[in-house]
Point group: C2
Chain length 347, copies 2
């Protein structure tokens, strides 16, 4: 294995999958892992084998790759717009159990036209902005209006509510969803599914009462952002970037062959671009595309040129999106090269 390279410790992956699934099994919430973290069909099938009800994708081409590999239940949490994408969505719906989300009338109209014309029926959830400030209707009344529109639109079935939650206030998220669900029920509209998500919220899922389904991606690998938040340990991190020390220009500076093309520029609130295993006080202070600059001022570690190091990235998901292949270290120690089949799928 030459560096830089992405190594996946499959012993940790198997443990992470089992632990999360048993958590949701215990509280009776369906678990629908988000494949954005691994983009690898074999891992999606392992998640389903362990008990997941299906998978979550963000884009149609990600879902196409997963269905090609045998996944048969997909939720695409995205507003699908435009004739080409709608045509592909119809084709996909013929090959698996499919649901999508919408937070606006234009999306619902497009879905309805495409599925009516194909003689098919599509399950649609209404996306709710419960505080994260991304997509989603802003009020329970907004959710009601779209639920009604979906319910009366030919080719569509209203399937429930979905949110990408604000991670730091799950009670507010639960309260938002609970109120919206009540407003819908007062209007005679049932919610088959209330889908929440997020890895940071995973261990607090039992605190919520409204969600019937949880989506999470990062938990399968974990990353430095979760370690720093106290939500997992270093030994729960399955994905590492393997790098080599290529320069030691000064006593306190090392340069490694992993830059933003390997680690990404994602800081997501942290300082530095990753955690070097075995040298937590070494700071990756700067990245250019092929270089990482490491400040050794605060540690005793003095690596030699040619030394291999192992880095837990700040955010695992975009790292998977940079490489065509990853290396699996299997429990028996063997190394397997595995394609990241849904890498670069954004459409």
């Amino acid at each position: 294995m030459e560096t830089p390279a992405v190594l996946i410790d499959m012993t940790i992956v198997e443990r992470n999958i089992a632990r999360a699934q048993s958590l949701f099994d215990e509280i009776g919430v369906r678990f629908r892992p988000h494949i954005k973290t691994h983009k690898t069909p074999r891992l999606a099938l392992m998640q389903i084998e362990a008990g997941a009800c299906g998978i979550t994708c963000q884009k149609i081409d990600e879902a196409e790759v997963m269905v090609d590999a045998g996944v048969d239940d997909v939720l695409i949490t995205y507003n699908i717009l435009g004739q080409e994408k709608l045509d592909r969505l119809v084709k996909l719906a013929k090959r698996c159990k499919l649901a999508v989300t919408a937070d606006n009338s234009e999306t619902i109209e497009g879905l309805s036209a495409a599925f009516t014309s194909a003689g098919l029926d599509l399950a649609v959830l209404v996306e709710c902005d419960t505080g994260a400030g991304r997509c989603g209707v802003q009020t329970a009344q907004g959710a009601l209006e779209l639920a009604k529109q979906i319910g009366s639109a030919p080719g569509l079935t209203f399937h429930g509510l979905m949110t990408y939650p604000h991670m730091s206030d799950m009670k507010a998220v639960d309260s938002w969803l609970g109120s919206a669900k009540s407003v819908l029920e007062e209007n005679g509209i049932g919610c088959a599914t209330v889908s929440s998500g997020g890895t940071p919220n995973l261990s607090r899922s039992h605190e919520t009462v409204t969600a019937t389904e949880h989506r999470a991606g990062t938990y399968i690998y974990n990353d430095r952002s979760l370690v720093e938040a106290g939500l997992c340990g270093v030994d729960d991190c399955a994905l590492t970037v393997q790098a080599t020390v290529i320069s030691r220009p000064t006593a306190t500076r090392a340069v490694i062959d992993a830059g933003s093309k390997s680690l990404t520029s994602d800081l997501i609130g942290l300082t530095g671009y990753g955690l070097i295993r075995g040298a937590p006080a070494a700071k990756i202070t700067g990245l250019s595309e092929e270089h990482g600059v490491v400040d050794l001022s605060d540690c005793d570690w003095r690596p030699n040129i040619g030394d291999r190091i192992s880095i837990i990235p700040n955010h695992a998901c975009p790292v998977s999106n940079l490489v065509d292949e990853v290396y699996w270290q299997k429990p028996d120690g063997t190394i397997l090269t595995v394609p990241v089949a849904a890498r670069g799928c954004s459409q």
Copy 2:
């Protein structure tokens, strides 16, 4: 063309190539474009056709892709370490005029062993840290010691000095290189090449007297970082990310289908994640992988769901590294799909 997608305006590309080449032709400095920005063999060949003396690559696999396409003069500005990479470097040296850089003894020893054993000779430049704080020897004396080592190492020829310069103080860079060159000459060692670089420094290249060669990448596309620095205009930016407005959750919020998987998280000192053409006061305040959140508070622009927009990214180079293909808009208006053949090459 579905969104998100990367569109290249070839009229602007042709103008950017011609403008930079004529600048270096005028001052008699060789120009060696860095292919990291486009990673596309056809553009490398256009740069050479326009007068470039060859190309710069950071990694061997990038160079392999370029040589496969017909490029015959390559400088790899990187410490090459490890037997596998050295074996590949030897193979590459048989197919083109090749030079590399080194800033340490270990790298020089490895290169010497590999090229001696292959019965070949490799040109090696000493990398100098002239203020950028990345790789490079720290002093003229350090450069002299490595130049001597290269000069006496079988299989290697000392070829000169190279720096990745500190962009904001070209006079200091020039002074550093001038002193080092003098120290070498005092010791009877001539510098065939003194290679500097950078797009931000491009228009000030005539101010330096020591460099005989300049390397630059971003100039071929330009990007928001150069617009904000006053170094080019919006109409000089050839690469744009094409996106669609997929949600309008509030009066002042739009969400687009380009996130960090299209625009990257690179801020490189800027605020916001790109410049929306035609709406410069709209701020892309947040990215997740497939969503960009746009704050419309400071502008009158109120896009509709389904509207297409065109975004100049903060940093063009890592955007090229995210996509397997880009779309060329040719001067006659036709659109061509072009593979980014060296995407993901990091080894």
